[in-house]
Amino acid sequence: MGKLNQQWIYAWLLLLPAMVILLGFTYLPAIETFIDSFFSTARGRRPSVFVGWENYERLISDDVFKRVLWNNAIYALVTIPASIGLALAMALFVHSPRRGVGLLRMAYFTPTVLPLIAVANIWIFFYLPTIGLIDQIRALFGFSAQNWIGQPDTVLYTMIAVAVWKEAGFFMIFYLAALQAIPQPLREAAAIEGASRWTFFKRVTLPLIMPTTLFVSVNAVINAFRLVDHIFVMTQGGPNNASNLLLYYIYDVAFAFWDTAYASTLTVVMLIILSVLAIGQFFFLDKKVHYK
């Protein structure tokens, strides 16, 4: 009994610093946010009043919200597998010994190092009609100019491309480490048995890097909702909400419209979505992970 008490004290002492910060800067503000979603927004001249479910009702009939959810779903569904898949491919390319592997590695990693302001403006240039890089290259093949960012049916995909570009190189590092942890004898044994590259990959490599895939996909899911910085610079969610994403909408509502109550409501929705996704991920992938 005495030992348990001692453990309890030790545990809380160890946890205290972290918990104080979490409490002060995450939990308490989050609870405040949750409570705020049941009130109206206070404006300088009018105080806030309790409105119950009104904000949530507004959510349901909000066209922009529906559009934003739809966009974010597409955004997530494409960026997550694309960035993970490309990251794995890059790691495989870079893992095998070949000439210029250092250059390859650097090329894949550059997106992580460039600051966002530059990245966004460079991509704006790439996407410019007629004078932009992509159109200039396409003109060589006789294609006509396209207003990639200015048209609602292409703009979301331009944002997806930028996100995948930014993420894949970053995730590559983790896959690279995982690949290098696969013991050499395994590879040699497979080669002796005449297993093809593809078989080796499917049967040995993939399962062994599952833990990394879990780690990377948790990051990827969070980033699919968190990485909206390029939207600020490139499209501001337009045209007509074609590239608007949930976190960007929350930011707009909170810091442009100053409708803090509605922003809280949107935040609560985002938290629910993320929690569901996180729990789902852990259950799904956890089964496939081999811990030693």
Partner: protein, 277 residues
């Protein structure tokens, strides 16, 4: 005969593989190549790719004059370093508690910690600003980092890692009369190095690029990080000046890129034993 055929297909396979690798690399490096092109050429060549266009250093000069990069650099380094160090310390302590100690409410608290992964401090800016005001920390580097210094992700990763460390090592150390801190220092921390590195990369990368919260909470050159300082180049009214933005980019990322080129092998090797297991 069959081995010959096998060799042929193998080299075709190889060739395809190589082609894929390099094609991807060129696509990925295009933005950086473009940045280098525009930084060293006058603005007139931002959209024209003429081989013998004149080179110039004027963009770097103009960019340098527009923002005190050296100071912003220093601020950002202090910021990400302080955040990471505190994250690792607090994370290690908390992860040990979750991995090795038994206490009431452990699972509940751990779930709370996991929830933090989902709650981005970016949304809680107004409340956090008010807290900083009460603490008197407005316009300090500490204020930028404080909300992030307890990282649920870090605690989670370290807990997983700690749980894979054999308990025999624990008992051996205890028998020698070691306290928790000694135990941590001698046994856990060294064995979890790869996790520290992996998380370090995630943390530094995230905080290096953070914009909104630092913008709101800092006022002066002495505290402003690079992202906010660079925003002065993202002006809208007078037309985008790619050459200057990219010169500024090279000034800020150049050292990082060069560092990566030089220390690539060490960097990757330090991940060798990573296995985010």
């Amino acid at each position: 005969m069959s081995t010959l055929a096998a060799k042929h297909t193998k080299s075709f396979d190889d060739y395809l593989f190589s082609f894929g690798a390099w094609a991807l690399a060129i696509m990925w490096a295009l933005p950086l190549l473009y940045a280098i092109w525009t930084a060293f050429h006058p603005a007139a060549y931002e959209t024209r790719f003429e081989l013998f266009a004149p080179l110039t250093l004027e963009n770097f000069y103009k960019a340098w004059m527009q923002a005190p990069f050296a100071r912003y650099y220093l601020n950002t380094i202090m910021l990400v370093t302080s955040i990471l160090v505190v994250q690792l310390i607090l994370g290690t302590l908390a992860a040990f508690a979750f991995a090795r100690l038994e206490f009431k409410g452990k699972n509940f608290v751990f779930t709370l910690v996991l929830l933090q992964l989902m709650v981005m401090p970016d949304i809680l800016i107004v409340e956090n600003y008010q807290t900083m005001r009460k603490l008197g920390l407005i316009d300090t580097i500490l204020a930028i980092g404080l909300p992030y210094m307890a990282s649920g992700f870090c605690i989670f990763l370290l807990r997983q890692t700690f749980m894979t460390i054999p308990t025999e090592l624990d008992e051996a150390a205890r028998m020698e009369g070691a306290s928790i801190f000694v135990l941590l220092k001698r046994v856990y921390v060294p064995l979890a190095k790869p996790t520290y590195l992996a998380f370090g990369l995630v943390s530094v990368s995230a905080h290096w690029n953070n914009f909104v919260w630092p913008l709101i909470i800092t006022n002066s050159v002495e505290t402003r990080p690079l992202t906010v300082g660079l925003s002065i180049f993202a002006t809208t009214d007078s037309g985008t000046e790619w050459s200057i933005i990219n010169a500024a980019t090279l000034i800020t990322s150049g050292p990082l890129l060069i560092g990566f080129i030089l220390f690539q092998r060490q960097f990757v090797q330090s991940f060798m034993r990573a296995g985010i297991k």
